[in-house]
């Protein structure tokens, strides 16, 4: 049995179902992200795990023990809140020591553990400061230290990085992962930032409308989205519509693509002959060539400079497509340029039939 088992968790508020039948098995030491737009039920899930809301149905089993009915103070989970929720009247050390004090640890042991934890988050020099004297990133690290010092079986993070500026957020992502790896704490993080979820998680749970849409490792989630929602929410996507014919997909304009699934094996047998097939084609998998060289003639409609990339919007027989090209020093294509689109045979991924909305 998995370390943390969530089974059929459902949360209803009156006639509104905020969370429907959420089931997830988490292994010890895993870093899981709950990803989705606001109102998708990810925060409700976290609140139910923390014990702040009592689920309408379902079970939460932690290490073989059913904790569904336990109040938050009996669960012993570490929680990092979006607002950090530090105690403003206590120093950094006082904040971190609070949980240990509640456990009745003797002062000497408490101080030792607080000092070690502050060292881990690089805050030793600021132990005597009050929260209002700290920067956002420092508060964030106090919140993490406070949650981890009690050595919780599970760490819950509620949008932990959303209040930080972009640069700091990136640093803290790696910091968070470093601390989590070092301590091996099983972690669930709620986020609406797909880049954050992809970069630091072992697995990502994509949610929408109170339901799980897909649970997968970050790269699989990206390469093989299970539904149109996941494909659109995670990364940029070109959607192609075609018809299955003889183990291949026939696109508009007579272009044919072989049907493959995510491990590259032929998948033609799965799609019924003549059925409509949706394909995901990521912008960075497309290449722009001089006219006449690629698979499909196209024209650059607009281009955007993103620093590491150029993003082109091109018009072709397949409709408007987005193409991302690395900013590798070659001269970019100007707007209105006639070009040709090219891609490797196996880069277009078919959505599962049930995902075709």
């Amino acid at each position: 049995m998995a370390f943390l088992v969530v089974d059929g968790l459902t949360q209803r508020y009156g006639s509104v179902t905020a969370l429907a039948d959420f089931s997830l098995h988490v292994e010890r030491g895993e870093f899981i992200s709950l990803l989705g737009p606001s109102g998708c039920g990810k925060t409700t899930t976290l609140q139910a795990l923390a014990g702040f809301v009592q689920p309408s149905a379902g079970r939460i089993v932690l290490d073989g023990r059913d904790i569904t009915g336990l109040p938050p103070e009996k669960r012993g989970l570490g929680i990092v809140f979006q607002s950090y929720a530090l105690f403003p009247h206590l120093t950094v050390a006082g904040n971190v020591a609070f949980g240990l004090e509640m456990r009745g640890l003797p002062r000497a042991e408490r101080e030792g553990r607080v000092a070690r934890m502050l060292e881990l988050v690089h805050l030793s020099e600021l132990a005597g400061r009050y929260p209002r004297e700290l920067s956002g990133g420092q508060r964030q690290r106090v919140a993490i230290a406070r949650a981890l010092v009690i050595e919780p079986p599970v760490l819950l993070l509620d949008e932990p990085l959303s209040n930080l500026d972009a640069k700091l957020r990136e640093t803290m992502q790696f910091e968070l992962r470093r601390i989590q790896r070092k301590l091996g704490t099983t972690t669930l993080m709620v986020t609406h930032d797909q880049a954050e979820a992809l970069s630091i998680s072992d697995r990502v749970v994509v949610m929408d409308g109170g339901r799980i849409q897909q649970v997968d490792a970050p790269h699989r989630l990206y390469e093989q989205p299970a539904s149109r929602f996941v494909g659109s929410f995670v990364g940029k996507t070109n959607w192609l519509q075609g018809t299955a014919r003889g183990g291949a997909v026939e696109l508009a304009g007579g272009l044919r693509l072989p049907l493959v699934n995510d491990d590259g094996a032929g998948d033609g047998a799965v799609a019924a002959e003549g059925s409509t097939v949706s394909l995901v084609l990521r912008p960075e998998k497309l290449r722009l060539q001089p006219p006449g060289q690629g698979r499909l003639p196209a024209r650059v409609a607009e281009r955007f400079f993103l620093g590491s990339q150029w993003l082109y919007r091109v018009e072709s027989a397949l409709g408007a497509l987005e193409v991302a090209c690395a900013n590798d020093g070659r001269a970019p294509w100007p707007e209105q340029a006639e070009v040709a689109l090219d891609w490797a045979d196996d880069v277009a991924r078919r959505l599962p039939a049930e995902g075709q909305a």
């Binding site: 923390a50 014990g51 702040f52 109040p71 938050p72 103070e73 009996k74 669960r75 012993g76 989970l77 570490g78 929680i79 809140f81 979006q82 607002s83 929720a85 530090l86 105690f87 403003p88 009247h89 609070f98 949980g99 509640m102 456990r103 009050y130 209002r132 406070r146 949650a147 009690i150």
Partner: protein, 284 residues
């Protein structure tokens, strides 16, 4: 440059003028009055004497009245803290339609004339009043409450409660509700959360509420006058008597200034002692 520096003074001039006219001037006149001579034959005379102050400090009667006023105000303040703080906490947890309804209930005493309110309490606490009927019914027997400090404290608490609830409520609203959840998640019981997390954060509000309640209670006139009766003197009623019955204005002025001094000392002392400590921590 010059203009922009003068602007703040110009803008605050009306308020300063009003303050000087309405507070400082009467206060200065009272202070002057307290040093003037008085005799029952000829009334208030000019000149300079410390006779009024000597009378206040030298007579045990005045000490007794000041002492009584002090403990009545202190008791009213403590009861207001005990009732008002939980009340503010509950109020802050209420949902919108109920919250405004109950806020109105708390503010209601301020909407009723002090005379009406005092006579209302004398009906409730009087010998044949509602409370005594209840006491007799459960076998305690009749208790004398009207014209005792009990009635004064009860009525003071009733009217002072809003001054306690509002500042505490205001500081409660500045709290991040997640902070309580954070404490719970760290293993604190509900009671520990209140004691260790909520209370320290509302302490500045609680303190300002307590100071307001104490100052207003110590200088209350109508409630001790109407519910304390003729014989149970408090400082404000004493001042009233000196001015209007004895016509000994210098003595009345001296007592008034002594009350002001005591009130100021209590306020500044408490503020310096505790609030400075928390101000530093909370930066509020």
């Amino acid at each position: 440059m010059n203009r922009s520096r003068a602007a703040p003074y110009a803008l605050s001039a009306p308020a300063l003028l009003l303050f000087a006219l309405m507070v400082l001037l009467p206060l200065a006149l009272t202070a002057l009055l307290s040093f003037q001579q008085f005799s029952y034959e000829s009334g208030v005379q000019g000149g300079f004497t410390l006779a009024a102050y000597a009378a206040v400090l030298g007579d045990g009667f005045y000490w007794e009245v000041f002492g009584r006023t002090g403990w009545v105000a202190l008791l009213a303040t403590l009861i207001c803290i005990a009732i008002g703080t939980p009340e503010a906490y509950i109020l802050s947890r209420m949902r919108p339609p109920w919250r405004s309804a109950f806020l109105l209930v708390i503010l209601a005493p301020l909407l009723v004339s002090v005379v009406v309110r005092a006579f209302g309490w004398s009906l409730v606490l009087g010998p044949a009043g509602f409370v005594n009927q209840f006491f007799e019914a459960i076998g305690i027997g009749r208790v004398r409450m009207l014209y005792t400090p009990i009635a004064v404290v009860v009525a003071l608490v009733h009217v002072m409660l809003p001054f306690m609830v509002i500042p505490v409520w205001t500081s409660l609203q500045k709290l991040d509700p997640m902070v309580e959840n954070a404490a719970l998640s760290l293993g604190a019981s509900r009671f520990t959360v209140l004691r260790r997390v909520v209370l320290p954060q509302v302490l500045p509000g609680l303190l300002s509420g307590a100071l307001i309640v104490f100052a207003l209670s110590a200088s209350a006139l109508a409630i001790p006058g109407l519910l304390g009766g003729r014989r149970l003197k408090m400082v404000a009623t004493l001042i009233y008597d000196e001015y209007l019955h004895e016509l000994n204005w210098p003595l009345g002025a001296a007592i008034a200034l002594a009350l002001l001094a005591v009130n100021l000392a209590v306020m500044l002392g408490t503020q310096a002692l505790i609030e400075g400590h928390y101000r530093k921590r909370l930066g509020a």
